[in-house]
C-alpha cells in the first residue's frame, strides 16, 4: 500500500498534467459590468431597478435622510452593522429551497425556552405580537443569533421578501464584529429613530439588501437577499432587527413593546 506521503507527492506531480478548461477573460467583462449603470443579468432586476430610478427622481429632493456622496461609502452606525449606499444593488443570491429556516438562513428550529437556555441575554418579544409562531437559533454570531418568526398577524401584510409577516432577529451587543451588512439603493431611505430612549434606524422604501457575516466577520455572500422595511435598534445592548412590510408606526410600536 502506498504511503500517504508518497500519494501526496504523486498528486503534486499530477497537478502539472491536468488540463483545465481555458480561463475566460473576465477582467474586461467585469469592468464593463461594474462601470455600466444598469447592466443587471436578470430581467426582473432590471425592471425593479427602472422602478427604483423613478422613485429616486421623485424622492431625491428630501426623502433621503442619509445621503453619502459616493457610491460605495460604508458607514458604521455602532450597531455592528455596515450600511453602504450603492448605485446598483448586486444580484441577490438565489434563496435555497426547503423550509423557512433554511431559505432565510435563520438556523435550526427550536423553542423560545430552548433558545433562551442557549443565549446570555433575555430574549425580547414584542407584546404587540405575542409569542412567535416559530423560533430559530444559530451560532453564526459569537453569542448566538435568535430569530422570531410571525407568520401572519391581523393588520400585517406578508412580506414579499421573507414570506412571513414579521421577522425579528436578535444578537447580543457583545458581538464585536461587523455582523449585519446592508446595501441600500437610491430608492431606500434611512432615518434616525429613538425607541424607549434607545438609538435606532428605520430603513424603508425600495427593498434593500441584507447580508450577514460569519464568526470571523467575513461577508457571507450566500446570505445576501432582498429585505423589506427594517427597524434596527440597540435595545439596551441587544441588537434587534425587525423586518416586514410594515409602516414606520407599526415597527416603532413593536419595538416599544419589546420586553
Amino acid at each position: 500500500m502506498p504511503e500517504i506521503a508518497e500519494l501526496e507527492r504523486t498528486l503534486d506531480l499530477l497537478r502539472e498534467a491536468i488540463e483545465w478548461p481555458a480561463t475566460p477573460p473576465l477582467a474586461g467583462r467585469i469592468t464593463a459590468r461594474i462601470t455600466a449603470p444598469a447592466q443587471a443579468s436578470r430581467a426582473w432586476f432590471q425592471s425593479r431597478w427602472a422602478l427604483a430610478a423613478v422613485v429616486v427622481l421623485l424622492a431625491i429632493a428630501g426623502l433621503i435622510a442619509y445621503t453619502p456622496s459616493r457610491d460605495a461609502i460604508a458607514s458604521w452606525i455602532n450597531l455592528h452593522t455596515s450600511i453602504t449606499r450603492v448605485n446598483q444593488l448586486p444580484t441577490p443570491s438565489p434563496l435555497p429551497s426547503g423550509p423557512l429556516g433554511k431559505r432565510l438562513g435563520l438556523g435550526e428550529p427550536t423553542t423560545l425556552a430552548a433558545a433562551q437556555a442557549k443565549v446570555g441575554w433575555e430574549i425580547l418579544v414584542p407584546a404587540t405580537l405575542g409569542r412567535p409562531d416559530e423560533v430559530y437559533f444559530q451560532l453564526d454570531a459569537p453569542s448566538g443569533e435568535v430569530n422570531l418568526v410571525y407568520k401572519s398577524r391581523n393588520g400585517l401584510k406578508t412580506s414579499g421578501q421573507t414570506g412571513v409577516a414579521v421577522l425579528i432577529t436578535e444578537v447580543s451587543g457583545n458581538v464585536d464584529t461587523n455582523y449585519f451588512g446592508k446595501m441600500l439603493g437610491q430608492g431606500t431611505t434611512i432615518q434616525d429613530v429613538t425607541v424607549n430612549g434607545h438609538q435606532g434606524w428605520w430603513i424603508s422604501g425600495e427593498p434593500h439588501e441584507v447580508f450577514f457575516a460569519d464568526a470571523n466577520g467575513n461577508f457571507r455572500s450566500e446570505t445576501l437577499r432582498l429585505a423589506s422595511n427594517t427597524l434596527l435598534i440597540d435595545e439596551g445592548g441587544i441588537i434587534v432587527r425587525i423586518e416586514g412590510d410594515l409602516t414606520k408606526t407599526q415597527a416603532l410600536e413593536m419595538a416599544a413593546s419589546l420586553s
Binding site: 498534467a17 467585469i30 461594474i34 443570491s93 457571507r220
Partner: protein
C-alpha cells in the same frame, strides 16, 4: 517606491472606487477563481458564470472587506458561494471530471521511453481514481493539490472550517489510497 502594487494596495484603491485597481485584482485572481468554481460546479460554463457573478458581487461588497485581511480567501469564498448556488440549482448537476493534458495521456503519438509511458499510465489511473471519489473527497483533494489552495483558502472555497478541511483531506487521502491498493495494477 515604484513597482507592482500589492494586493492590499489594490484592494484599498478599489474600496475607494478605483475600478482600474479592481480590474487588476480580477486579472490576478481570475484563473484561480474560475478553476475553483470549476471544481465545485464540474461545468466550465457554470464556472464562468459563477466566477463572473462572484467577482462582480465582490466588487459591490468591497466595503465589507476588512483592511489587512487576506484577499484571496475573501474573494474565493464569494466566488465559491456563487458556484455552489449554481451547482445546487435543480437539474444542473455536473460531475467534475478532471482530464490529463494531451501530452501527458498514455499512448500519445510521440514516442516516449518506457518509463515515461508507465508514468503516464499511472497518472491516468490515479486521476481516474480521484474522479471516482465522492464529490466531497474530490473537491478537497482538487483544492489542496491541484489548485494549491492554502488551508484557509480551501476552507473559504469549500465553505467549511479550516479544521474540517484537514480532517476531510485526511479521510479523502485514505480512501484514495484504498482504491489504489485495490487496483489490479497496484
Amino acid at each position: 517606491m515604484e513597482g507592482r502594487p500589492t494586493d492590499g494596495d489594490l484592494f484599498t484603491r478599489a474600496q475607494r472606487g478605483d475600478k482600474v485597481a479592481y480590474e487588476e485584482i480580477v486579472r490576478r485572481y481570475q484563473e484561480v477563481a474560475f478553476r475553483t468554481a470549476y471544481v465545485i460546479t464540474g461545468s466550465s460554463a457554470d464556472a464562468e458564470d459563477a466566477a463572473q457573478e462572484g467577482l462582480v458581487k465582490a466588487y459591490r461588497a468591497l466595503a465589507t472587506f476588512r483592511t489587512g485581511a487576506e484577499p484571496r480567501p475573501w474573494l474565493l469564498r464569494i466566488v465559491a458561494n456563487e458556484a455552489r448556488n449554481r451547482a445546487r440549482s435543480a437539474g444542473r448537476r455536473h460531475q467534475l471530471e478532471l482530464r490529463l493534458a494531451e501530452r501527458f495521456r498514455p499512448g500519445d503519438a510521440a514516442p516516449s521511453p518506457e518509463a515515461a509511458a508507465v508514468a503516464a499510465e499511472d497518472r491516468s489511473r490515479l486521476l481516474a481514481y480521484v474522479n471516482g471519489l465522492s464529490e466531497e473527497d474530490r473537491q478537497v483533494i482538487a483544492s489542496r493539490y491541484f489548485l494549491e489552495l492554502s488551508g484557509e483558502e480551501a476552507a473559504a472555497a469549500l465553505g467549511i472550517p479550516e479544521g474540517t478541511v484537514k480532517s476531510r483531506l485526511s479521510r479523502a487521502l485514505a480512501r484514495l489510497r484504498e482504491r489504489v491498493e485495490e487496483s489490479p495494477h497496484a
